[in-house]
């Protein structure tokens, strides 16, 4: 008998009919002899409906109250699921964030889970009830409702799985697994059978939308095996697991891309200690996160700096930097919004040299100019002109042999 946490996303519970379908999936696993805890998202569209209501009232709704409003979405789904399970002769018990409790800090709309006591979940399981937990929501020490931000239900599922020591956490979604790249861009994209936590984290942070990065972090930290799969079929999806000796070391597992960034360049910055802080402190104070930073050394104690920011924050960041540039005596500031970041990800890079240069070569052979480069242990990212995005993705996917099934 295995203890499994199953998470179903918004499209999987989009209406009463689909919620009944989810109840059948959950109870099937129980009839097969497993214990299951279900974690559910809000019905697809519900979160947007609630945000629209809030925005009819305030442009920037109070975060505490936005959380109270948003939390109703998952609350409705778990109640409906429990009814559907009841209709199949099973006894499910709904758990809101405050009832589990899913304890979080008090950062409304993007709270972080601090603790999940699981006496009540265990007690439900041992009484033969199916605990169904509202995803995305938690409760602070003082009893205020919080939400966990984008992809929060994934985080809830993985954190619950870690807390109860589940054997497996299944993430049911509307795609059938993690792909070597976006199938909408590259028709040769293949579903991966396995991927490591580290690779999945890079993929998630680089724009693959299957799993929220925080949930992968928690899974890795607590060694919770994940299985990302479709709620509309029975076929196996992608397992996200710890890297081990027996795993085949794949050089490149996937190609990702992101169009959510913009870059800003400051030229002829006086190159003296503290200058980077002078530039980036006011940006960080404005709560804008900087991704890549590149500094070219010129002669004569001056330097050029280029960095990327989220495209939504571009105008604000540009304005801040223009102010700073004047005060530090830099030459000028300019930026570009129509850029994209393409990346290759693979745990095998750790032990193989030459992957980055092979990437540069592939791009160059397709006439794609590289504007910026950044690397980590298991990924290489290049910023390019946005118009080359699809071409670059397809070229890298083919160039690293991802279109061919693994040996």
């Amino acid at each position: 008998m295995a203890l499994i946490v199953q998470k179903y996303g918004g499209t999987s519970v989009a209406n009463p009919e689909r919620i009944k379908n989810v109840a059948e999936r959950v109870t099937k696993r129980i009839r097969e002899g497993n214990q299951v805890i279900a974690v559910l998202s809000a019905m697809a569209g519900e979160t947007n409906r609630l945000i629209a209501l809030a925005q009819e009232i305030q442009d920037r709704p109070d975060p505490r109250e936005l959380d109270v409003l948003m939390a109703t979405g998952e609350q409705a789904t778990i109640a409906l699921f429990a009814m559907a399970a009841g209709g199949l002769g099973f006894h499910a018990e709904s758990f809101l964030g405050f009832q589990v409790p899913i304890r979080t800090d008090s950062s409304h709309t993007k709270a972080r889970i601090t603790e999940i006591p699981c006496d009540r979940l265990r007690s439900a399981l041992s009484s033969g009830r199916i605990p169904v937990v509202a995803g995305f929501q938690g409760v602070t020490e003082t009893g205020a409702i919080t939400t966990l931000g984008r992809g929060g239900s994934d985080t809830t599922a993985v954190a619950v799985a870690a807390a109860v020591g589940a054997d497996l956490c299944e993430i049911y979604t509307d795609v059938d697994g993690v792909y070597t790249t976006d199938p909408n861009v590259c028709s040769d994209a293949r579903k991966l059978d396995r991927i490591t936590y580290e690779e999945m984290m890079e993929m998630a942070s680089l724009g693959a939308k299957v799993l929220e990065i925080r949930s992968v972090e928690i899974a890795m930290l607590y060694s919770v095996p994940l299985h990302v799969r479709s709620s509309f079929s029975d076929s196996e999806g992608t397992y996200v697991v710890r890297e081990d000796e027996t795993m085949e070391k794949i050089l490149v597992s996937g190609v990702t891309y992101s169009r959510n960034e913009a870059r800003i360049t400051i030229t002829k910055v006086p190159d003296r200690p503290g200058i980077a802080a002078a530039i980036f402190k006011p940006i960080s104070d404005a709560n804008i996160s900087v991704d890549m930073i590149i500094q070219n050394v010129r002669e004569g104690g001056i330097t050029d700096m280029t960095f990327t920011v989220p495209r939504n924050d571009y105008e604000q960041a540009l304005e801040i930097v223009q102010g700073v540039a004047t005060s530090i005596g830099a030459e000028k500031v300019f930026g570009q919004k129509d850029i994209a970041k393409v990346s290759i990800v693979g745990a095998g890079m750790r032990t193989h040299a030459g992957v980055a240069s092979r990437m540069f070569d592939i791009l160059s052979r397709h006439g794609i100019n590289i504007l910026m480069i950044s690397t980590s242990e298991i990924k290489v990212s290049c910023v390019i002109d946005e118009k080359y995005t699809e071409l670059a993705v397809r070229a890298l996917h083919e160039g690293f042999g991802l279109d061919k099934a693994a040996a």
Copy 2:
């Protein structure tokens, strides 16, 4: 400075625009120097939408989970209200049932409030925040969500007012007060300026839909003055207050009617001790509430019994009684669904004789036959053929001078 609890019903908070309007009303009272606690219902239509979702899944949804589902309605409204108050420069703080907490027993879908600790409400008030409380919902000792049944938000408001010792509880609704009778039936109906708790309770239980009876009970028990008024105008509504010496004793304050009953008659019942229990125990066991009971003594140790039940329970009650009639050797059982109950209510009846006979006389002068009669200290009810309902209401309204403004 007064402490006021204001309750706004579903039509008053039906959309974001109206919620903003409610926020203006609440904050106006605060600018006038009062402290206000707001209690809100779900947006009009929301409760029905949620019930429809539940019924797509189960014909008779699990009550515990139905409560979890239903409670989302008020949760959304209070969050939106808090945002609207924020937009007006006020700091409101939403309180769900479990956060106040509104403690209840565990009778899901019709829970009763057992206790309202109000430290948190007081603390919000003393910090200058506006507490906005979700109506209709509570929490059990073990942390399960409950709802209070029909009119539950009125009950929440009055119970909160009692708990915090409010000076006044204002019930904002879509009518502008309590009327001498239903204006849809009798165009001469007048708004009452004042009415006693006892009269209001009789009016509520007899079919006037302005206030739920339980909320009036609690108001009377804790001497909370109520003011029933419209959220769409500024005019004064109706005060519901304790009867005192200085109040003018009005003989008849209102005429009410109900079409929700049916009657059942058993003839030639052997008149022996325990016979009433033999008949009514199985009805009560089926959770059917009996209203009026009339027993006519015949000669020879036999009797006829007639009683009324809610019309929805008529068929079931008839079946039960037919079984009992056979076993106790009664003659036969028959019933009638097309009946109505018309009533006159007035605290002045306590000290004035002859009110009942004047009612009978008025009905008889209009050719209306009385099928059953029941009286209490401050009301007289007659069951008549349903087709005479409007005629009876208008005749009594005029006959007792309710169409004329009070002196």
